[in-house]
Amino acid sequence: MQRIYQAAALGFIGLSAFVVWESWNLEYYTTLGPGPGFFPLWLGVAMGGLSLVWLVRISGRSGMPKDVALFPQRAGIVRILSILAALVVMAGLMNLLGFQLMMFLFLVFLLMGLGRQAFWVTLVVALLGSVGLFHLFGGYLDVPLPVATVKLLANLGL
């Protein structure tokens, strides 16, 4: 438990070090006044200082949080990772295969695989969520969603 918090604190310290390093390469001060590196440098320093204080506190006995389970059981972790993976695949392939096909597959996976919904319910929602949203946003709200760059799919209107 304590190690998770310590790891988080170290992660924040690492982030601060990275910010300070990056800011160092930016101009700190110009003839006109503070440069682009001024603000992020001090933010990085402040973040590092606070993270260090937090690390010291949680490493001491008084600062320890109560011993409760932080993360879920295996099945819960699988569900969470499945959702994240589905989103990454969706983002990675939506320009290639088009919004409609990807959203259809995305919804089928989520609703049948994780939500345990009936086939017909999944089919109707997936069609509305893919074809329906594509036409609603593209046709009525003037917000175009991507069409497939694969010629075969593009010819099918996807």
Binding site: E27, P34, W54, P65, L110, R116, P146
Partner: protein, 496 residues
């Protein structure tokens, strides 16, 4: 007198058929978001910003603000009938509201909550109308020095109110500012933290970040357990008894005052208003021992307070250009996406927008009263949609929302990344509200600081030369130092 004339002008804008439709849509969507567990007002407003791209700026802001205070109405329904708050500000309503529902008085509880919300929201809007003139005149005297000091005060209030986890609040505030640093430097126009990627040149979009932190993180948290169907208590008649109406008058008035005043304070959440109102009602009650058994005062006060808070929280945004809560910060972002800067100049340069939106609050509150009284049965039916279906639909809208801000699949990845970050931060008990506020205020804060230092050729003494800035900065320092003194005196950990 000016305020009344301006308000009339505002009504001519708000009552056009198109803007009425937007207020109606915002109210319906807001109630829906409030009703549905698993999506709060912050992510809800962020998710629906892309719907407004083709609207006029006035119509867009009318819809988004109606959506915001609509969530406060909707949250009550699930609190009373399900014992599950649709959004955090209605959590306290579960105590008395659900007890009333179990006794067959759920309809009366919802009716009183809707009436209280209407009165609270309307009176807070009157406060906004009255405050608009003097506050904007005062704010027009602000230069970059005073503006920087004002933002510092707002942020320190936010951190100061973070209570036991001030150090975490400060860390999150800085994290939000660091995220705001990505992209072009606002003064010199040089790229920072972009790593040569074109997608980062315009900065990290606040819509995908907020949808990830607040919307996706919530979905991931719900996914820890197998999605379960929720069961609502049976609805009863929505007509309250005479005694219930009589007992609600005092709590509604007190809730209005508490909510409106706390709404003005940056960092104060709607939950704080409703909680304080509940405590106040128990204190002034002749029979405090009955609280917890289904007392109408425990519904009327908090529900009025959270709606008055929602409308009151818009006062600093409209008059000073400072958002008082994460949802209001998202609305501020929407203003900017439509080319408008909220604050004193909005009243000067776009009075039709400013007063049109303010007038629409009255219209929206009337619409919400109608939606929430006779149509409550429809909202209850929506609760029967299984979460196993709902979460897929929510994720589909999030993907579309994140993508359509700048037609980029990269933003969907950003949302996913921040969903994971938000989930982990929640697990480690980090407050997320400071990230939103500093993400949106960060660039303004940096710009005003650097402009001030440019003016003084780098001397920090410029902040001591302006009496307004001096007072604001002294207050900010006091708010930040006070908890450290408390810690020193008590010798135990508020800095966890």
């Amino acid at each position: 007198m000016d305020a009344i004339q301006n308000l009339f002008m505002g009504f001519t804008v708000a009552l056009t058929p198109q803007n009425l439709l937007f207020a109606f849509l915002g109210s319906v969507l807001g109630t829906l978001i409030g009703v549905l567990p698993g999506i709060g007002p912050v992510a809800g407003v962020a998710m629906l910003i892309p719907l407004t791209f083709q609207m006029t700026p006035t119509g867009a802001i009318i819809m988004l603000t109606a959506l915001f205070y609509g969530t406060q109405y909707g949250g009550t329904i699930t609190s009373v009938l399900l014992n599950v708050p649709g959004e955090a500000a209605s959590a306290i309503t579960c105590i008395e509201g659900y007890e009333m529902a179990k006794q067959g008085r759920g309809g009366a509880a919802l009716a009183i909550a809707a009436i209280g919300s209407f009165i609270g929201g309307t009176i807070a809007t009157i406060a906004l109308v009255l405050a608009a003139g003097p506050l904007t005149r005062w704010a027009l005297e602000f230069g970059p020095v005073e503006f920087f000091a004002l933002i510092m005060l707002g942020l320190s209030l936010l951190m100061g109110l973070a209570g036991k986890s001030m150090i975490k609040a400060l860390m999150m505030g800085i994290l939000g500012m660091l995220l705001a640093m990505v992209g072009m430097d606002p003064v010199r126009g040089l790229p920072r933290f972009t790593f040569g990627r074109m997608e980062l040149m315009d900065g990290i979009g606040f819509v995908p970040v907020i949808m990830g932190l607040f919307g996706l993180a919530e979905v991931l948290e719900n996914a820890e357990k197998q999605f379960a169907q929720v069961f609502a208590a049976k609805m009863s008649s929505i007509i309250p008894s005479r005694k219930e109406i009589r007992d609600s008058v005092g709590p509604i008035l007190r809730g209005t005052v508490i909510g409106t005043l706390l709404g003005l304070v940056p960092g104060m959440t709607g939950s704080a208003s409703s909680f304080l109102s509940y405590i106040a009602e128990r204190k002034v009650s002749k029979y405090p021992e009955r609280f917890g058994t289904g007392v109408i005062e425990g519904v009327a006060g908090p529900e009025t307070a959270n709606n008055a808070h929602a409308n009151g929280a818009l006062i600093p945004l409209f008059t000073l250009g400072i958002p008082a809560s994460p949802t209001v910060a998202v609305i501020m972002g929407a203003f900017m996406m439509h080319g408008l800067i909220p604050g004193p100049f909005l009243f000067k340069e776009h009075p039709d927008v400013a007063w049109g939106v303010i007038a629409s609050f009255y219209v929206g509150n009337v619409i919400l009263l109608i939606l929430n009284l006779p149509l409550v049965g429809i909202w209850v039916k929506i609760l029967k949609i299984p979460y196993g279906l709902l979460f897929g639909v929510i994720l589909a809208f999030m993907v579309v929302g994140a993508y359509s801000v700048s037609n980029s699949a990269f933003d969907v990845l950003v949302m996913t990344l921040f969903g994971l970050i938000g989930y982990l931060l929640r697990k480690l008990d980090f407050p997320l509200a400071p990230i939103v506020l500093t993400l949106i205020l960060g660039p303004m804060m940096e710009r005003s600081l650097r402009q001030s230092l440019d003016m003084s050729q780098g001397s920090l003494g410029i902040f001591l030369q302006s009496p307004i800035a001096l007072v604001l900065l002294a207050l900010a320092a006091l708010i930040l130092i006070a908890p450290a003194f408390k810690l020193f005196r008590r010798g135990k950990g508020i800095l966890n």
